[in-house]
Amino acid sequence: MLTVDALTLSRGERVLFRDLSLSLASGEAVALTGANGAGKTSLLRALAGFIRPDAGTIAFTGVDPAEARRRHLHWLGHLDGLKGARRAREELAFQAGWLGADRLAADAAIDVLALGPLLDLEVRQLSAGQRRRLAFARLIATPRPIWLLDEPFAPLDARWRAALGLLMQAHLDKGGGILAAVHDPLPVTSRAIDIGTGR
């Protein structure tokens, strides 16, 4: 699905890593590990096209990078991309609609993530974990094969970590791929790559 070859990435004067290569196969989850500042988030942002690497290539199987980023990638970063003053229902409707989900798919995501009771609340009234579930709903509502997740479980309690683990497994079973920057192990079978060592 995704191949990274000899990637070198720097932020300002600091080189985060050199000649990093990795691949993501269909049905596979890859956990990016490493110390704080190792470049996990920067690598994900480079894959999403937000950062231009110094050297190396990022290739998506069967589709050019620009098209892949518009139609095949889901991005869930540190920030949830939600407006505090808007109601959860409005934010979900926009995010799902923007990414091409229909009403039924959005409703299904609401059910799966138990968001119903939260929909009429303003986003700023939600806890960090509830906001993360709301942000996760766009991934469920809009099928896209590659998920790029940056610390996806940080604000979630044990119950919802397990529940989202099941959703991730379902995504993998359908042939999707997941690349996640984490400090704790992913709740699905995954291959770990240490950004610091490149192994």
Binding site: R45, A48, G49, F50, I51, R52, R69, R70, R71, L73, H74, W75, G77, H78, L79, D80, G81, L82, K83, G84, A85, R86, E90, F94, Q95, G97, W98, L99, G100, R138
Partner: protein, 221 residues
Amino acid sequence: MTALIILFRRELTLAWSGGGGPLLACGFFLCLTTLVPLAAGGDPAGLRPVAGGVAWLALALSSILSLERLFERDHEDGMLDLITLGPIPLELVVLTKAGGQWLAVGVPLAATAPVAAITLGLPPEQAPLVAASALVGALGFALTGALGASLALGSKRGGLLIAVVVLPLFIPPVVFGAGALERAVNGLSPGPALALLTAYVLFAAVITPFAGAAAIRNAQG
């Protein structure tokens, strides 16, 4: 097309919620154009020769007020990343946001402009021309304003930087718009000045999407 409509509607909703950007801009516009005659000593005859210019300057300044939130809020809460990965090219997103800014702020300002111009001493019969030229000019302000907002994205004190970047770019529409009003007041056709104003808007419509998208990509990195 559906995604564009969804984004456009969201822009309008955001513009009207949480502080009412258009109301603020219109209020500022009217305050400014009310203060100028008072500061000039309440002599309408003395103010009349520069009324068009003052009205357009006030329109330009009022257009700047809500520019900071055009991209900055989406940048701060991570929405801009999501929008970037949407089905619409970023260039079209910039154009859509500028269009939303025009409809949400520029059109109300243009509707307010005749009142402001008459307050400044322009003849009431010029009101339709004031509104029409302000409608076109506000589109130019929205487009170049979107460019300024994208260039200032992620910088500290972005609002101030936007003003510094944008004000020089606002000089042509202010000159052309005020020129159109002056020509009309003097019994000449405002057509040439309006044509130049329209040319400026078209130029901005071509430049802004590409330059704005490049600036946003740079800020995301």
